[in-house]
Structures are given as C-alpha cells and as structure tokens.
C-alpha cells in the first residue's frame, strides 16, 4: 500500500511540475513573440518588460515557410508574429489572424507613414490585421575589390568568370524570383512555362554558385569568402559597416520590395499584452533603437526623424525613393496549389547536378 502511495505521489508531482511549465509569467502576464532571427534589439524587450511588467517569451524563425506550419499546428500559442507581406495574406486566408483596432495603438497610428499603410493594402486590404515593422528590398551585394566590372543586373550572375563566387538565397520565393526577373517575368508568375524557363536558368547557373544560404550571406560577404551575394537591404547596410568594399545594387530587371509586419494570432490568450507590445515597438524612440541595431528600414516616420546621421537618412539602401527604380514588385500569396508548384521547381534546382 505504501508503495502505491509513493507511486501516486510521484505521478502527481510529475503532472504538477508539467503544469507549472506554462505559468512563469510577469506580474502582468506574458506575451509570446515569434520574430525573425536578429530582428529586434534585445534591449527594447527588456525595456518593455520593465515598463509594463509583462514578461516577453521570445522565439525566432529563419523563413516564413518555417514559421507558418508551426503557427498553424498551434504547438506553441504565439501571440505576436512578424510575417512578410505574402505570408500575411496566406495567414489571413487561413484564418489565423486576429483583427487589430488601431485606436488601441496610438503610437502605431501616429508614427507609421501613410505610404507604408498603402503598400500594405496589397496583402492586407483595409489594414485590418497587420502593422508595418520593417521594409526593404532584395538586391545584389558585391565586393568591388574582388570584381572588376560593376554588377548591374541579375543576368550578370550567369557570367562564367564569377564561378564559385556567387551566394544565392536558399528559400523558395527568393531563389525563383531571380530566375523569373532575369527573364522579365513577374515574381508572382503563375505560368508553368515561365517557371520552367526560370528553373532551367537557375539549374544552368548552379555550377557557378558557391552555396545556397540565408543568414550566412552576411558573414561570408564580410569575410571575403564570396564576391557576390543576394541579400536583403537591411543586411547590406550592416555588412558595409564591417567591410567597406561591399556595394549594394538594385538589379535593372527589377526586384522585390517587401514589408514585414506585426500581427496578432487568432487564438491569442494575451490580446491586451500583444497590443501593448506592438504599440511599444512603434514608439519613435524604441523604433529608432531597433533601427540602429538591425539596420532594416523602418516605416516609422517618428523614428526616421530621430536619425541624426544624414548619410543614413538619405541612404539609397535604407530609405530609397522607390519611384527611381523600375519593375519593383511585392510578393503576393499564390494559393496552395501554386505554392506546391513553386516548391517542386525549387526542389528541382537544389537537386540538380553541380
């Protein structure tokens, strides 16, 4: 009998400790945030925790495609997520997002520039679900010491003399975008024939490619490991601080303009805290701290006004005048079947012979 009680006690403690796992929160509860890697200054999270007494549980992802199934499966109950444009559309369609009331977020309402709200309507009609956090472009970064002729277009990445020096992006949309744009097609093309042409080109280019990577582009370009890399504009500013030979160009065939946005999940358990978190991040001083840290363009006009360095404020990388460039496009959500078609072509490229 005694033994049985012991066993019972053991099981009860096990269950109690398991149940206890979810309860470590601040005095005013918690908010679970799921953001891109290195996409916030950790200091601002601490400031938020101190000012509000809300504990932030912070988790990171590397691509939209990795984030989506985790959120959809609901294994972790994230409250605030930072998906890109086309992924916001996909999440709205899958009914994963909570509507946002801008009147509850005075900082967001006052500080996010009008043009960014307009850009957002492409994937979030009526600005009902998302608050712009960062935006930028995708371009080519090259090392002017390692390459004699300036690079101006996607087609330059097919020149045999750059063999072994090119870093391409290892994510479905960003890789196929290059092939599509090079041939003058839309990066949201639904035509199988156009995708076939793009894929054929990217397969042909493969022997010239050093590696397909995502976050490593930054370090490899800084360390002179590669001469040419496809990179997000925010990362480009960071790499130029570390290596002055790096030049960022907008390819002449056109490229991708993207916005990453704060959203709140449909089945959030901490809606109030999520609203507070997003609004806190839209405060000009906080947005400025984050801009300095991650160097991705902020749509926060209050923060833009706080930037003292003229060179950065007028930088063609950080705050380009988009009308200067031709054929810029934002990704749109393609639908499940077309996503699958894109994935098949992506697999074909990565699986091709070197």
């Amino acid at each position: 009998m005694k033994k049985r009680i012991l066993t019972l006690a053991f099981i009860v403690t096990m269950i109690a400790s398991l149940a206890g796992c979810g309860n470590k929160s601040g005095e005013n509860g918690q908010v679970i945030v799921y953001n891109w890697g290195e996409y916030i200054d950790p200091e601002t999270i601490e400031m938020f925790e101190k000012e509000t007494g809300i504990k932030v549980v912070y988790d990171e992802f590397e691509t939209n495609e990795i984030m989506y199934p985790k959120v959809k499966a609901g294994a972790v109950k994230y409250d605030v997520i930072c998906p890109s444009d086309y992924m916001v559309a996909k999440m709205i369609e899958s009914d994963l997002l909570h509507e946002i009331n801008l009147d509850e977020m005075p900082n967001a309402k006052a500080n996010i520039g009008k043009q960014y709200w307009e850009m957002s309507t492409q994937f979030d009609p009526g600005n009902k679900y998302s608050i712009p956090y960062c935006w930028g472009t995708v371009g080519i970064l090259y090392n002017k010491e390692m390459i004699s002729e300036p690079i101006t277009s996607w087609a330059d990445l097919w020149k045999p003399e750059y063999s072994g020096q090119i870093l391409m992006q290892a994510s479905v949309r960003d890789l196929l975008m290059v092939g599509l744009k090079k041939n003058g097609y839309s990066m949201n093309s639904l035509s199988e024939d156009e995708l076939k042409v793009a894929t054929k080109d990217l397969v042909e280019q493969k022997p010239l490619v050093q590696a397909y990577v995502i976050d490593e582009v930054r370090d490899k370009m800084i360390g002179n490991e590669a001469a040419i890399g496809i990179i997000y504009s925010g990362e480009a500013i960071y790499t130029q601080r570390e290596n002055e030979n790096l030049v960022y160009v907008y390819p002449e065939e056109g490229t991708n303009v993207w916005i990453d946005n704060w959203v709140i999940t449909k089945n959030t358990e901490n809606y109030e805290n999520a609203v507070k978190f997003i609004d806190f991040m839209c405060r000009p001083d906080i947005a400025k701290i984050n801009f300095d840290f991650i160097t991705y363009s902020t749509p926060n006009e209050g923060a833009q006004a706080l930037i003292e360095d003229d060179e950065i404020r007028n930088s063609y990388i950080a705050f380009p005048n988009l009308s200067d460039y031709k054929n810029l496009e934002t990704y749109t959500y393609l639908g499940e079947d077309n996503d699958e078609m894109y994935n098949e072509f992506y697999k074909e490229i990565l699986g091709a012979d070197n």
Partner: protein
Amino acid sequence: MLKNKQKLMLGLPYYFWAIAFIIIPLCLVIYYGLTDKTGAFTFNNIASIADPQHTKALWIAVKLSIISTIICLFLAYPLAMILVNFKKGKSSILVMLFILPMWMNFLLRTMAWQTLLENTGVINTLLQTIGLPKINIINTPGAIIFGMVYNFLPFMVLPIYNSLAKIDINVVNAARDLGANGIITFGRITLPLSLPGVISGITMVFVPALTTFVISAILGGNKILLIGNVIEQEFSQTSNWHLGSGLSMVLMVFIIISMIFTAIFDKDGEGLI
C-alpha cells in the same frame, strides 16, 4: 525476487517516456504518411520515392553514407586495436579523448568545420602562409563525407573497442601456440570474434549518415540534396507533412533492414555500448 507487478511499476517511467516520445510520434508519422491533405488513405506519399528527384537524393545519400561508413571502419578498427592493447589507465584516457568532442553540440561542431574549411577559412589561410596549395573542399560531396566521418567516427570506434576488449587473450595465445602467425591469428580469431562490434558500428554510422540533413546543408552549402534534406524541406519549407512522413517511412525501411542485419550477426548484443 520482484513480483511481476512490481517490475511493471518500476518500468512505469520508461513506459510513459516510450509512449509519449516514441510510440505516439511514430503513429503520427505513419498516419501522415498514409493519408493525403483531405485525410483520405493513400500510398502516394510512399510511392513518391520513385519520383526521379527523390530517387536521386536517396541514391546520393546511400552512396555518401556507404563511403563514410567504409572510411570510418578503416579508421576505427586499427584505432580500437591500439586502444585495447594499451594498459588499463592509458586506454581509458584515450577512449575519453574520443568521447570528449561528443559533449559539445553536434551542430556547433559542424558549423565550426564550415568556418575552418572555407576558402578563406582557418585551414586554408594556414596552408597559404606556409606556401602550400589551398584545399577547395567546402560545398562539395567531399566536405559532406568529411563531416559524416568526423561526427560519426566515435560510434564506430566504441563498439569495436568493446568487442575487442572482450576477447580472451588466452584464445589468441592458443592460436599462436599452435603455430598460427599474426596474420592468420587476426583473420581467424580476432576478426571473427570482433564481428559483432563491427556490425553494430556499421549500423550506428550508416543510419545517422543516411538520414542527416544538417551536415549537407552546412558543409555542402545546400548544393547537394540528400534524402534527409528533401524530407526536412517538406516539413519546414513546403509544409507538406504528408509527403515528408511518407518519405520518412521509406527511410525507416532501410533502418529496419540494417537493424535486422545487426540482430543476425550480433545475437548477444556484444557490440552495444
């Protein structure tokens, strides 16, 4: 003697573990593998291994892991023999040196090799300063094999070491007494007696090498797609869990085959650590 009931009670934590972390996930994989997006039963996910892309990835994975296993075997067997012949204290320090890197995270060690092997990495910079030619191994199948051998070598050394250590020295001495020379003694006494360790070493290297996706992503620069990468992409990029599970089940068949192989040759579990 423990009564059966008491035995069952003692096993409870393990049963709980096994059900929660082995049986249930396995059932989920089988469920996903045998259904399509609408939830209807299908064999298509498993049959898709015949898709040329997938067959190619599987073939490359099999090829690279066989090469790695062979290299591991040829490195590990002599090493295990050296270790066994050392006196007790010395050999345990050496065995320890072998296990030591395993205390560090596998991912970190692999990423460290990426930095070491890069064209402008530590090794090439060193080679160049002393006037030697550079090695261009990063992002090639060679780098993947290197990563596999480096990471899985201890899994080959330890079982062979164990089975060699168990051989009674008198058996070897008897062979020598009866006139067998070193080579014959090795071929007819030592090798057959150590076979269980060799077989479980082969399984323990081949299986993780066949299924890896991290090594090919980090050291292969995503340029060489192994079957592990295909499965990983189905889960992380494509969010097609059904196809990913179906392909995982095909890989499981390979693993089960190699386990049967081990069970036949290593009946007493001698090679197990």
